[in-house]
């Protein structure tokens, strides 16, 4: 941070050149068939427009691509697995080559999973790649959704695409769970039993729902075949459809971009799809494929042969779902054992609340959030420039609080592993988490908000005082101060381009003779919500302050050094005495908001 941050000025300034008209031999040879195809498909016109589509460049825009590519790897490896997997619960005697299970009775599904692991060339690699890619698919979706959330990319016009994404995440969980259950080993059977409990905890109709899903009592003899259909046909088809819609909307809306000089709500600054992003995205696909292959080859996952065949009478320590169901598992593990009996029916609050309730709450909140924020801000404009997370501290704090809550439930899902690995009491972990799931998010909210406001303050500091140079200057009076240099106009633009929503005060202007005007309750609530959201934000420096700062800095540069003229030795960091920027006099009457904050940032 010592020097002004480099804004991307290293872009090659390309001279527009007329391309050479001479076609190479390959193109000449391809021209005939290409024309034949184009006459019938008309793809050239479509391609001409869409191949030149411009995309902005940022690593965080590739998180969604990781999810997409992982899904493609799942499809490819999944095709391989379906060739040998037998989705049948018929009981057979194992005759394969894994000695430790030889002669045991097991389902055909488990036997064929073992065959895939031991007797089919490349089968274990494919199984492990499939599983790792599935874990990555959902992990990347989650990371992608966090990026979208923290940058405010879900705002108009992208609310519907956000909903599609939430749907993809939810359906991804179902897909992953169905796949986890297929091998019919002890672990996957235990997971099925868990879901059986979830289904049964549905009030009133739970038992019937269970009988419907399992075709009778658990485990029945059909569930594997049914889950197989869900896993390889129904849900992948839905996922593919949702992905297509999701990507089509990305194309239609055009990609969002981070703020910067030259970037507006009306343009997209970047490079065209062809050839730049074709190469980058195509290359990234192979990188993802390579990483998944290495993981599948070097890291053991789901060693079904050690679990043994499923037997409802058995359970093993360390029975956990894959990570994406861990939060539900954790919620159920830390839930007190509440149950009530009303008129011959059993209400299993201990399973229904943490299981069904928590999943509903998580996806419900995710789906509702864009609309909640829109209601608070009253913002009807389109947004294609992303927010820097610090510039919306309350949203960022909500996101971190939700992540913290999720993390606490996650720990709960592995409470036995935490207990054994860190040598603490299982009960202590559980009791701690019962409190922490409520307290930790609140703490995270407060801390995150303070960090965001602190970062806003650091931005203001850079704007008003310039960037630190790391050069300490000793003044004539013996004082020390650090020399600052003004930041570039580009950086100053980036730091100040965001729109500041203002908190709404109470409707006092409508008050008459001490009687408040009647106001809709929702409107009062909204005023409160805006204060909650925006009251603590640090206002960006006003034009007058920036000009004064620029003048001061120019003066300083004229002096040939910082420190002389200010050298009263009071300010170890800086030596400024100007109190010019408290008040943020934007003339909008909300001036009290930031002033107490900015006092402390004044020297």
């Amino acid at each position: 941070m010592a020097k002004p941050a480099a804004t991307a000025t290293d872009a090659p300034s390309l001279e527009a050149q007329a391309p050479a008209r001479e076609l190479g031999p390959v193109f000449k040879a391809a021209a005939g068939p290409a024309k034949w195809a184009d006459d019938r498909l008309g793809l050239a016109a479509l391609g001409r427009k869409n191949l030149r589509k411009v995309f902005p460049d940022h690593w965080s825009f590739l998180l969604g691509e990781i999810a997409l590519y992982s899904f493609i790897i799942c499809l490819l490896t999944g095709v391989f697995l379906t060739i040998w997997f037998k989705p049948s619960m018929a009981e057979i005697e194992y005759e394969g080559s894994y000695q430790l299970l030889k002669g045991l009775h097991m389902s055909e599904a488990y036997s064929s999973s073992l065959a895939l692991s031991f007797d089919i060339r490349g089968g274990l690699l494919m199984r492990q790649m499939h599983h790792w890619a599935a874990m990555l698919f959902i992990a990347a979706m989650l990371a992608h959704s966090l990026r979208v959330f923290f940058t405010g990319a879900f705002r108009k016009p992208r609310e519907l695409n956000w909903l599609l994404g939430v749907g993809l995440l939810a359906i991804g969980l179902i897909e992953g769970f169905a796949g986890y259950s297929l091998p019919d080993d002890l672990l996957s059977g235990t997971g099925l039993r868990f879901v059986d409990g979830l289904i049964r905890s549905i009030p009133i109709i739970g038992t019937w729902a269970e009988f419907f899903v399992f075709n009778g009592e658990f485990p029945g003899d059909l569930i594997i075949a049914r889950l197989y259909m869900v896993h390889i046909l129904l849900v992948p088809a839905i996922i593919l459809g949702l992905i297509a819609a999701h990507l089509a909307l990305v194309f239609y809306h055009k990609h969002t971009q981070y703020p910067g000089p030259g970037r507006t709500e009306e343009n997209v600054v970047g490079y065209p799809l062809y050839p730049v992003y074709m190469a980058k995205a195509g290359g990234f696909f192979f990188i993802v494929f390579g990483v998944v292959t290495l993981m599948g080859g070097l890291m053991q996952i789901n060693p079904v042969w050690t679990f043994g065949p499923y037997n409802p009478a058995e359970v093993t320590a360390g029975s956990q779902p894959d990570w994406y169901m861990g939060f539900v598992e954790g919620a159920i593990r830390i839930m007190p054992n509440w149950e009530s009996h009303i008129g011959g029916t059993t209400w299993s609050w201990n399973v229904a609340i943490p299981g069904l309730g928590l999943m509903g709450l998580m996806f419900g909140l995710m789906a509702a959030y864009p609309f909640i924020e829109r209601w608070v801000t009253g913002d009807t404009g389109e947004h294609h420039i992303l927010d820097r997370p610090r510039n919306n501290p309350t949203r960022t704090a909500f996101g971190v609080a939700a992540m913290t809550c999720y993390g606490m439930f996650w720990i709960g899902g592995g409470n036995d592993i935490v207990a054994t690995q860190f040598r603490v009491s299982l009960n202590a972990v559980t009791y701690f988490l019962r409190v922490a799931v409520f307290v930790a998010p609140v703490l995270a909210f407060i801390i995150t908000k303070r960090i965001c406001i602190g970062l806003q303050r650091a931005d203001a500091e850079r704007l008003l005082h310039g960037a630190e140079t790391g050069i300490i200057v000793r003044g004539p009076s013996g004082s020390y101060g650090e020399r600052h240099v003004p930041i570039s106009a580009d950086e100053a633009f980036t730091l100040t381009q965001h729109v500041e929503p203002l908190p709404l005060t109470d409707g006092s202007e409508e008050e008459y003779a001490g009687v408040p005007a009647k106001e809709a309750r929702s409107e009062r609530l909204r005023r409160k919500a805006t204060r909650f959201y925006f009251q603590d934000n640090l206002r960006k420096p006003s034009r007058a302050e920036l000009e004064a700062a620029a003048h001061h800095q120019a003066l300083e540069a004229g002096h040939g050094g910082h420190g002389d003229g200010h050298g009263d030795g009071q300010a170890p960091r800086h030596g400024h005495e100007d109190n010019g920027h408290d008040g943020h006099g934007n003339g909008n009457g909300h001036h009290a908001i930031g002033s107490s904050e900015s006092e402390s940032s004044t020297h």
Partner: protein, 273 residues
Amino acid sequence: MRFLSSRRRHPAAKVMLLVAALFVMGALYSVVAPASQSSADTGTSQQIAEGRALFAVGCASCHGLNGEGNGTVGGSVLGPSLIGVGAASVDFQVGTGRMPMARPGAQAPQKPNQYSEEEIAALAAYVASLGPGPEIPKPEEYDPASVSEEDIARGGELFRTNCSACHNFAGAGGALPNGKYAPALYGVSNKHLYEAMLTGPQQMPVFSDGVLTPDDKRAVIGYLNELHEQPNQGGLTLGGIGPVSEGLWAFIIGLGSLVGFAIWIAAKGAKAR
């Protein structure tokens, strides 16, 4: 026989007769009295005495001077009675370093054993002398070398049915309530595995010979040995504790490296302002 009559008045005759009578008595006694018991008794009682001395130093502060236990205070056992726990129990607890405990706690952790073979045998003999209990198994009882492949597969079923609920599918251990735990079974000797099943140390239930026959116990031991000798099919086991560590590594290695590549890709090549 002339010398008997001719020397019968010899001054030494009376003494000789006395000596001869003593020999006869001694010989008669040695025939009548059970010779083996008497000789063994001296050895065992010496061992028990040694064990008793060791017990007074290392064990009595919790288990009482005569192994009678220290009772319970407020629901926590200060030191259980050792009457009737048997030699196998002592051999397991002391042989694996669990006893004597370094400090009171929910459970005695395994630690390096401080006693020699002879000292453990002496302690075991002393505790066995307090009351009848399971004896230390002989090598042919716990050695799984004779177990057939079919029995090893059967041992796997027995393990999954009776053991894996606490000790994990791979014998990696697991958590129990209130700071107690089922330890990992890696590197535990066959003898100690057998004794643990026989005596049910700490939180573990007793799998008596009526529940798991000696053949069953050997099958379980054979399965565990075979399981832990298996090569790691599929690569690094990531701790062998199931999906929790898999998820952790999916995020750290998988997503972590891919984000690293994404940063590299976004920073490379054509760059827009």
